[in-house]
């Protein structure tokens, strides 16, 4: 009996695999750190490339027993998805020791290999199906894309309702379900036994998972706090935004007051710590009913604006545990608005700890909005007297340069302009950041503010800026108007009373700086003067960290790394120089290098194993195949990643934007792939690839030209209206982008089906490299340039579409 392709099983498998990929990112962000999570998962995805190599080499035996081999691979995905993570997390890997402990790289390799297994098994199954049913490649690929689209949407929902480890068990079970469906679709003999076996395995997986716990690195903030006697995790709340752990400390108070003046005498009231993924603590502070207990909030740099004027309406961006709200309340602000992204944190404040905070949020003059900061600022019609950008990221992560690969749309030139537009005349925008040594964040922020003011037509930006610091935090005030003498006098008194230092105000004298918290040189003042003066470009060039302001096109505020300084820092590694390395960026580069090396090996291996006879008799040029599938693999993800970034600015919610854009791309690309099947049946390969590439290039350029104005036009729409608009915008581009891969695969199916797994592997490797390369390129040249590059790559793909060799010509 002729077999039918297992469409449903492939869709389910793809859904589980994509969900697994996103879940792994969550799991490793909790037990390790985000940037290492990124590296580990990127490299584990090379399991795709390895599957191409594996199926290429073992085609004959695999296809002799296709049904069983397919079933085993899907089943192994299910079991290894749970088992390999549990094993991998038990490997005591510590990234901080990687440069001097020879065991650490081996442990990291062990983690890569373990986590590559589930992807390897799943990709094996798909590669086998694509090759075995090579006459129906386009439809199989469509199932794969549909499934993946479904997976990306479902995992967001799953992460809201399940704890991360529970979600892992669910994904394992979906993998087992895919195996059962495959047994049914492929009509496997004795399939009832298969069903029974799968039921037993699923029970085993659930039990194994239920007995396991996440093993967080002992060096994470939360792990450190839990070492102190009397501390306990009171509750945990999981969502795709992060795992919130609420920490009670019964014996020793938390006393969270970063940046507190050396002259302060009081300490904070009792507090509860809320950690996100085991780090970035924010504190919920107890209501004592005694205003004087909150005087510590007047002893930190962010309190300055309240000493310059009496704001009537304040907006806090990033409410966290509520410290900035309390600070505004302490200074008797009549109306306080605050924005917080994480609904679970809001629930903690509003419900679980409502009594603890003295019903802070039920007070009539305080309103807490759920949303993303930039989106709230763009959407609101209110003009504020003071907008405060809170300091919510942790010093540890910030100082180690771990945010280097995180985009932030809060600290770009355009973001500051958006915020300045929502200020009343003479109102202030206040931004507080950690002080790092040598200075980085605060200086880049200063330069960003100068650019924002200049873009808004301010001739002399220095007249509207105030900049000061403690040893720990620095605050920048940007006024919607020229700073007055009275305000300068008030600021001077504020800083002197607290042993803070001024770094910039209009008319500042060099003798006034670097008084209380002394640095080897008055770096802050020197930088501020240089950025405002004629030597700005030269200063940026000479400074050993990158201070050029971030923009919406290159939203990497936390990227400070300069290659030219690497040799100097490396030579200082034994003299305590390593913390000067901006680790996040180097991890990104290390990921790319490893992915490239592994990809080259995986792509070349099947060629090595191919028999001489096969090598010479191949009807398609291998270099064409490799060029085509590399180009398509790179280009697809370049565009997908760049568009996710663009739509974050439109939808204003990183999580929903990513889920929606990813799903839309996959589903509409799936439709494109399904449609290309019709063209394949007619044999119109060349026409189809030409039309799809022209479609992609034309639409790509149109989007680049007009997307900004379209977004501006519809910015004020509600999210419910923005979602269909997003789908309409993505649909045509994604539809065309879904065609090139299955078209070429189908062509290979016609003329050289044995090359399908290899092409699949090449594409898998290219996808891994592409995701990492897109970020590195975006940091260097911006997202628009990444899109242009992708369109060029589609052009390259078009010119290297696999064709049968003309006989006699090699």
């Amino acid at each position: 009996m002729k077999l039918r392709p297992p469409f449903f099983s492939i869709a389910l498998l793809s859904a589980a695999m994509l969900a697994y990929e996103i879940l792994l990112m969550r799991l490793f962000s909790i037990i390790q750190w985000h940037h290492f999570a990124y590296m580990i998962i990127s490299l584990a995805l090379l399991g795709f490339g390895a599957s191409g190599t594996f199926v290429s080499i073992l085609q004959k035996p695999l296809f002799k027993h296709f049904s069983v081999a397919f079933l085993i691979n899907v089943g192994l995905f299910a079991v290894s998805s749970v088992g390999c993570f549990l094993l991998a997390q038990s490997i005591p890997f510590n990234p901080d020791e990687i440069l001097w402990d020879s065991q650490q790289p081996m442990r990291l390799l062990g983690i890569y290999l373990l986590l590559a297994l589930p992807f390897f098994f799943a990709a094996n199954a798909i590669a086998m199906a694509l090759t075995y049913f090579h006459d129906r490649v386009a439809r199989i690929y469509a199932s794969d894309l549909f499934g993946a689209g479904l997976g990306s949407l479902s995992v967001v929902a799953l992460l809201f309702i399940a704890m991360p480890l529970q979600a892992l068990a669910v994904i394992g079970c979906i993998g087992l379900l895919a195996t059962a469906v495959a047994a049914w679709e492929l009509n496997v003999t004795g399939r009832n036994w298969v069903f029974v076996a799968l039921a037993v395995i699923s029970a085993g997986l659930i039990m194994l998972d239920a007995r396991s716990e996440l093993q967080m690195s002992p060096y994470k903030e939360l792990s450190q706090m839990l070492r102190i006697s009397g501390t306990e995790i009171a509750s945990e709340h999981s969502s795709p935004l992060g795992l919130l752990s609420v920490l009670h400390s019964h014996t020793i108070p938390l006393r969270h007051a970063p940046g507190l003046s050396l002259l302060a005498s009081g300490e904070p009231p009792a507090q509860i710590g809320v950690f996100t993924d085991g780090g970035g603590m924010t504190a919920i502070t107890r209501e004592t009913g005694e205003p004087a207990d909150y005087a510590y909030l007047d002893q930190i740099t962010s309190a300055a604006p309240y000493h310059l004027f009496q704001p009537a309406h304040v907006l806090v961006l990033g409410a966290g545990g509520g410290s900035n709200i309390l600070q505004a309340r302490y200074h008797a602000v009549p109306q306080i608005d605050a924005v917080e992204l994480n609904p679970q944190l809001i629930k903690l404040l509003r419900e679980d700890y409502a009594d603890y905070t003295g019903d802070l949020l039920s007070t009539g003059n305080i309103r807490l909005h759920e949303g993303e900061a930039r989106g709230f600022v763009t959407g609101t019609n209110v003009q504020y007297d003071l907008i405060e950008v809170a300091l919510l990221d942790s010093f540890a992560a910030s100082s180690a340069g771990l945010y280097a690969l995180n985009e932030s749309y809060l600290y770009t030139v355009e973001a500051l302009q958006d915020m300045l537009k929502k200020l009343q005349p003479d109102g202030y925008l206040a931004i507080t950041r950690w002080i790092k040594l040598p200075p980085r964040d605060t200086l880049k922020l200063f330069a960003t503010a100068v650019d924002a003011l200049t873009n808004m037509g301010v001739e002399n930006p220095g007249q509207q800026l105030l900049f000061f610091r403690s040893w720990q935090t620095g605050t920048l005030l940007i006024k919607n108007g020229v700073v007055t003498e009275t305000e300068i006098a008030a600021l001077k008194k504020f800083v002197t009373d607290r042993s803070f230092d001024v770094a910039w105000y209009p008319g500042i004298q060099p003798g006034e700086v670097n008084q209380f918290n002394r640095l080897a040189e008055p770096y802050f003042f020197q930088a501020a003067a240089a950025i405002l003066g004629d030597e700005r470009a030269e200063f940026f060039e000479r400074y050993k960290f990158s201070l050029k302001p971030a923009t919406d096109d290159r939203p990497y505020f936390f990227h400070f790394f300069k290659w030219s300084v690497l040799p100097e820092i490396f030579s200082l590694r034994e003299k305590g120089g390593l913390p000067l390395l901006e680790g996040g960026y180097l991890v990104l580069v290390a990921t790319l290098v490893q992915a490239l090396v592994a990809s080259v090996i995986l792509i070349l291996l099947p060629l090595f194993f191919a028999s001489k006879e096969k090598r010479s008799s191949n009807p398609v040029s291998k270099s064409r195949v490799v060029t085509y599938f590399l180009s398509v693999g790179l280009a697809f993800l370049f565009i997908e990643i760049a568009f996710i970034q663009k739509f974050i600015l439109f939808l204003h919610h990183p999580l929903y934007a990513v889920a929606l854009v990813l799903t839309a791309f996959l589903i509409f690309a799936g439709l494109g792939s399904g449609f290309s099947w019709r063209l394949v049946k007619g044999g119109y390969y060349r026409h189809a690839i030409t039309v799809s590439v022209i479609g992609i290039v034309v639409l790509g350029f149109l989007y680049m030209l007009f997307i900004g104005s379209v977004f501006a036009q519809f910015q004020s729409l509600s999210i419910a209206a923005k979602i269909p608009l997003t789908l309409i915008m993505i649909a045509p581009l994604a539809f065309f982008m879904g065609m090139p891969f299955p078209l070429a695969l189908a062509k290979l199916g016609d003329i050289a089906p044995n090359m399908i797994p290899w092409a699949w592997g090449v594409n898998g490797c290219a996808s891994v490299v592409s995701a990492v390369l897109a970020t590195i390129l975006a940091i260097a040249i911006g997202f628009n340039a990444v899109i242009v590059l992708a369109l060029l790559l589609y052009g390259v793909a078009w010119s290297s579409f696999p064709e049968r060799r003309v006989s006699g010509i090699q």
């Binding site: 001097w100 014996t251 050396l262 005498s265 540890a396 040594l437 040598p438 000479r542 305590g576």
Partner: protein, 243 residues
Amino acid sequence: MNYLKFSLFFFFVFFSTTSIAADDPYAEERAAMVKVIERDVRAGYGSLEKDALDEKVNDALGRVPRHEFVPRNIRNSAYENRPLPIGHGQTISQPYIVAIMTNLLQVGKDDRVLEIGTGSGYQIAVLAELVKKAYSIEIIEPLAKQAKDRLQRLGYENIELKIGDGYYGWEDEAPFDAIMVTAAASHIPPPLIKQLKPGGRMLIPVGSRFMVQELLLVQKSESGEVSTRQLLPVAFVPLTGKR
């Protein structure tokens, strides 16, 4: 007879050297570690641009058996110039950092020093070599107990340890000539500043468990005014020379 004397002399010399070697198989490694630190410091450390440690700090580092302060399985790495994990999520600092921190505190032989965050006890042992009396507080109970046993075993009689919250310092023994805060805190505890003698110094390494980002030196003048100096532990200037 002369032959006998010579043999006896040889016998004693031989046994005394072997007994030293048997007592301290790490003596050579320790001496080498001190040499490495001296070499690194000569390149100029941090914003202070010093080119040598005080001799007494070198001597102290040469005396404290660092291998006794690390877990048995990593003893062979004890004298490498790098931080090492000691369990409980804690580390023993890189010897170079211990050296320059100790030097920065500028302690004298009659001083009384306080340390917040005993950890393995290595830093307080180095300080105890230089001062009259050293006090240390550790918040993690098992670590504190281990450090106490270790320091007792090694014969440090001028060190007092207690388990507990370092935020309020050691009120009964205050004021101190110098304070070292190696435990992470969101801010400098005001009670510690109060417990610092006029003219005293407090040092706080800032960063992660494995990497010290900067050294914060808090100085209290004779008149009681408090100021800080933020120092890089390494000779690094953020601007290249003018072209």
